[in-house]
């Protein structure tokens, strides 16, 4: 059981990082609650895997500390941490049977035979591996191999957290759901902290209670799927979560009014003055833009309408800037000019990409 705290944690693969891009992980403080199911979401190269490897100890962070239940483990080697990790490509010990694979981490730690046998059969049962316990791991399918490597983590009674590094990448699509559901079920049964790295938002949102979004080595938001959708703390979150992503438009803020070019939008409340050289933008999700034929709002030109069944995605242009809106499946969309009416409470203001209240 473990609560994992990161204190001023940062990592660079260079000795003396000076520029922002030289940090694989920018300084961060956060706490992973004991027993939580977290998803670590972000595009390729954003530092997800580095963060995971820092937590598991495969990478020693260049700055800051990691605490497991208050104990500093920053310099403790992987095998001495109560952590297990499941990798993108299933790792099994080919020449050993499934049962021996599961027993391996315990045998290496000198656990007595009876306990090993009991734990192995318990975990085998939990993961539904019983019919293949005596088969060699070499010939198993990718999803079974992935279960075996998950099992090697679960079998240790001291494991407080299991880290998953895009574990479903090589699994057949129809088995992905099944395996993910099984991981969820194991989480419910065992109360182990789980951190699940993925770049697939559906996977993240269906797996986790809490989604941690990373962008360019920085944690930009931690929240429930609903929070990420309704109050994206960073323009990247708005863009990455939701399909289509949030519309982000350059703007100028004066009190409770936002100026986009020559157009003005009314905000629900005033925004404190932004620094003069800051990049100011507003973000509106396509779901909160109503398509009207005329009236007050943003007059736009319709470029394309994608009918994806339940909804229509209307791609428009506002003074040359792309902007998308979502309309119902029965909505009649005029061919050229429409007005997009935003929901005032859902207009977010971003200063240098971070949300301001």
């Amino acid at each position: 059981m473990a609560q994992i705290q990161l204190e001023n944690l940062a990592h660079s693969y260079l000795v003396n990082p000076t520029k922002p891009w030289q940090w694989a992980l920018k300084p961060m403080n956060m706490t992973w609650r004991q027993g939580g199911a977290y998803a670590l979401l972000g595009p390729s190269g954003c530092g997800k895997t580095t963060l995971l490897n820092v937590i598991s100890g495969l990478v020693t962070p260049s700055h800051g500390r990691i605490l497991f239940d208050g104990r500093d483990v920053s310099r403790i080697p992987t095998e001495a941490r109560n952590i297990a990790q499941v990798f993108q490509f299933p790792v099994v010990y080919d020449t050993m049977t499934v049962a021996d694979n599961l027993a391996f981490p315990l045998q290496n730690r000198g656990v007595s035979k009876d306990i090993v046998a009991a734990r192995v059969s318990q975990v085998g049962h939990m993961l539904g591996l019983e019919p293949i316990m005596n088969r060699r791991a070499r010939g198993l399918t990718a999803d079974l191999k992935q279960k075996v490597s998950l099992g090697r983590g679960l079998v240790r009674s001291d494991v407080g957290a299991i880290l998953f590094d895009e574990p479903l990448t090589v699994i057949d699509p129809h088995l992905k759901w099944q395996l993910r559901a099984q991981i969820r079920r194991v989480h419910a049964e065992t109360d182990v902290t789980m951190i699940y790295v993925t770049h697939d938002q559906t996977e993240a949102l269906t797996f986790a209670d809490s989604v941690v979004v990373m962008y360019q080595g920085e944690v930009v938001q931690i929240g429930t799927p609903q929070e990420l959708f309704d109050r994206p703390a960073h323009t990247f979150v708005g863009y990455f979560i939701g399909s289509p992503g949030m519309n982000v438009l350059p703007a100028r803020i004066e009190g409770d009014r936002a100026h986009i070019g020559s157009h003005v939008l009314q905000l629900t409340k005033g925004i404190a003055a932004t620094p003069p050289d800051a990049k100011v933008e507003i973000g509106i999700r396509p779901e909160y833009l109503r398509v009207e034929r005329s009236g007050p709002g943003l007059p736009v030109r319709v470029r394309r309408v994608d009918d994806i069944g339940r909804i229509k995605i209307v791609h428009c242009e506002l003074d040359g800037l792309p902007i998308a809106a979502v309309a119902g499946e029965d909505a009649e969309i005029p061919a050229d000019h429409v007005v997009l009416v935003p929901e005032p409470s859902q207009i977010h203001v971003y200063c240098n990409s971070h949300r301001v209240e």
Binding site: S56, P77, V91, Y93, T95, N108, R138
Partner: protein, 296 residues
């Protein structure tokens, strides 16, 4: 699709057939031809039936004694060099630097012996191991161990085995190195998390993953060492006595030294059959393993 039958298509395989015929089948048939005949001189040949084979495979005859003796030496030589080169090559591969300039230097140094012609290797060791002017031979004698490959069976074997190890261990090492490089990092990371010792990492991860390259490496080294001719011929000439007369040296002695074409022919055929059957065993092992992996 309906396939039309046209026997003229045979002409299309004719060039390949001719090529194989001229460089493999015809020479082999010549040897087969000799192995069933006897000759005295003047290109006069007499039908001898299977008599050469009977003599060759009878350990009590003079020819049989020589055949079994040299076959035993060839097999022993292959076994010894495999027993040294395979573990040594694996150790070298494990100890090699993983990247950078050190790796480039290492690869080049290891490739060097592989590039030398066999007779050059033979001459190098012929000189290197001499007890009077060779650095190696002189040093061994100087520290009090009598060493002279021209009159001691043990010394001569030490030289030819050392020479082969020097010449070919790199091959196994390079194959293993390539095999090791193909193992994803995740395996090592998982082993760390599972708390496996270095020994277990080797036994449970590296060795199983090296199986395939090792099979090929062992096959190559077996065939090559079983057919070895040039190096022992140059260093020891098969001596002292017959102690380093391998099958190939014996064959040349009979065929070109004594001009016993019939005996040499019979021996060549048996030699070829042994080589082929060992190849077949290895091939079967490799394909069976691949089928097992493919089916699973």
């Amino acid at each position: 699709m309906q396939k039309s039958i046209d026997n003229r298509a045979w002409f299309l395989v004719a060039p390949v057939f001719m090529l194989v015929a001229f460089n493999a089948i015809l020479p082999l048939m010549t040897v087969v031809n000799y192995s069933f005949q006897d000759t005295f001189s003047n290109n006069q040949f007499f039908w001898n039936g299977a008599q050469w084979y009977v003599e060759l495979l009878d350990p009590r005859s003079e020819l049989g004694e020589r055949f079994y003796g040299s076959l035993g030496r060839s097999l022993a030589f292959s076994a010894i060099i495999l027993a040294i080169e395979v573990p040594l090559g694996m150790m070298v591969a494990l100890a090699m630097p993983k990247r950078g300039a050190a790796l480039a230097v290492c690869l080049m140094m290891m490739a060097l012996p592989l590039l030398l012609p066999w007779n050059v290797v033979g001459i190098i060791w012929q000189l290197f191991a001499r007890d009077n002017i060779g650095l190696f031979g002189w040093t061994v004698n100087a520290i009090g161990i009598p060493f002279n490959y021209t009159n001691s069976a043990i010394s001569s074997w030490v030289v030819i085995v050392l020479m082969d190890v020097w010449h070919w261990t790199s091959l196994i090492a390079l194959l293993c190195f390539a095999g090791l490089r193909a193992i994803p990092d995740a395996y090592y990371q998982a082993a760390k998390i599972d708390g496996a010792s270095r020994m277990l990492v080797f036994l449970r991860i590296e060795l199983p993953k090296l199986q395939r390259v090792l099979t090929i490496g062992i096959l190559l080294r077996f065939m090559d060492s079983f057919m070895i001719y040039t190096e022992p011929f140059i260093v020891t000439g098969g001596g002292p006595g017959n102690y380093t007369t391998m099958l190939s040296i014996n064959l040349v002695k009979i065929a070109l030294g004594q001009f016993d074409l019939g005996k040499a022919g019979a021996m060549s055929i048996v030699y070829t059959l042994i080589t082929l059957s060992v190849c077949w065993v290895f091939y079967t092992i490799i394909t069976m393993r691949e089928e097992k992996e493919g089916a699973a």
